[in-house]
Symmetry: C2
Subunit: 262 residues, 2 copies
């Protein structure tokens, strides 16, 4: 075990009443913030930190778990603890569903990802009829059944987003929307062809910690929240024609909106 150069991490203040594991977490955080450990770099191993600070291993692990909870580091079994690299973020512009972007044969996700130099994939495609949840039913005007379209999006092999669209069955049944691939321009183009000219979208944005199922599905590291976005599409008659419920890995996204001032 290589000795830890003492300059990189300070030592503890035994007179302080701050808990030892918090002091260790502070020192490591400072070192990361100051660039002494760069993105992706390996932190000293637990046993090195034990020796350096003269504490027990559980205390060191406690300190590291603080940093994990902050999303600063992640650990890899058998390898070490590493500074978590910031993944490239996908910018979602508020006009991404504007009619003028619906002319290509590819989905918005595919077009954007390729423009950004990433390799897009869509996964877990599932289309079926079902009973809506209370929330979805309320938003859609209480249809008895809905068409549900679920899919997972990946960038360069990494899952980043899980989306579920719900449409009243009387609109979507026996249309291209009920097909796995609804065709160029996506389901919004199909809705307009079916006479539901879109007027506007409502989007609700929340952030929270992921459920265990979301951790699994999106391969989320500790300390990464999710952005939960619920979009409702309205036609020109004021009817809600689709609700899209999306859960995104928060470290992979920034949402951009442009709002008029009047």
């Amino acid at each position: 075990m290589a000795p830890l150069s003492s300059g990189v991490l300070g030592s503890l203040d035994s007179t302080s009443d701050r808990a030892v594991f918090r002091q260790i977490a502070d020192r490591l955080r400072e070192a990361i913030d100051k660039g002494r450990f760069k993105e992706g770099a390996k932190l000293p191993s637990e046993s090195e930190l034990v020796e350096h600070f003269g504490v027990s291993r559980m205390t060191v692990r406690n300190a590291l778990s603080v940093l994990q909870g902050e999303g600063l580091v992640h650990s890899e079994h058998g390898k070490g603890v590493f500074v978590r690299p910031r993944p490239p973020v996908r910018r979602l512009a508020s006009d991404r569903f504007a009619r003028r972007h619906r002319d290509q044969g590819k989905s918005a996700f595919t077009v954007e990802a390729e423009a950004a130099g990433s390799r897009p994939e869509v996964d877990n495609l599932q289309v079926k009829e079902e009973r809506p949840t209370r929330d979805i039913a309320t938003r859609l005007g209480e249809p008895r059944k809905v068409l549900a379209r679920r899919r997972r999006y990946l960038l360069d092999g990494r899952p980043v987003e899980f989306a579920a669209s719900f449409l009243p069955l009387d609109i979507a049944r026996d249309t291209p929307i009920a097909q796995p691939n609804p065709g160029p321009g996506g389901i919004y183009a199909r809705l307009e062809e079916l006479g539901h000219r879109l007027d506007h979208f409502d989007e609700e944005v929340r952030a929270r910690m992921p459920t265990p199922a979301e951790v699994k599905s999106l391969h989320l590291a500790a300390g990464v929240p999710v952005i939960h976005l619920v979009r409702t599409a309205y036609d020109t008659e004021g009817r809600a024609v689709e609700v899209c419920d999306t859960v995104m890995a928060a470290d992979a996204y920034v949402l951009a909106y442009q709002l008029p001032a009047n």
Copy 2:
């Protein structure tokens, strides 16, 4: 110590290769999800769980820390571990800065909060001139100095949001905007009076775990992310006249946007 009724929490599957502390966390999570422990209710104490599951205390604590990280529970020293209640959320509508909402004497925050039956407070008011950070300078068109207005918002005594506005000094110096209270309608009303008619806002929304400073300032519980919103205001000449950098407790907010479909 009252015995724990065995029906509420299951027992462990010793044949499973799922870690014991994860199984305990699973059982507690299920019990919470099914409403067997309601919001604000006290979970069994650590020693009760130790006895019930026949494991060591550190294993129980490990399980509880999983639930803390998910934002499901919070612990209070000397009292117990409780199901985290969901605070009332504040809905931020995308038209909240529209001109028609700028006629009252009160700030948008105050008006909204009182309409929702909450007691609003503003805190830590600080107005000063300073050198902009790299990011702020870029967004504002590289002014040498800016006027910074910082404040913290509280609802019913709980801090929920921390906001910092930055304006180019050549716009804001020696105007009501440089006063602690800029007057009715806020700084946007003052900007328009000064001839900077507002055209639109750009908003960027991110979510992440809070820094230790944010945890302290917003009194955040473990497992609560923050929403980071950066809004840039543009006048009709296309000039960026203000950047507002806002950090919100994610469990207290939902952002609502309305987008045109064309």
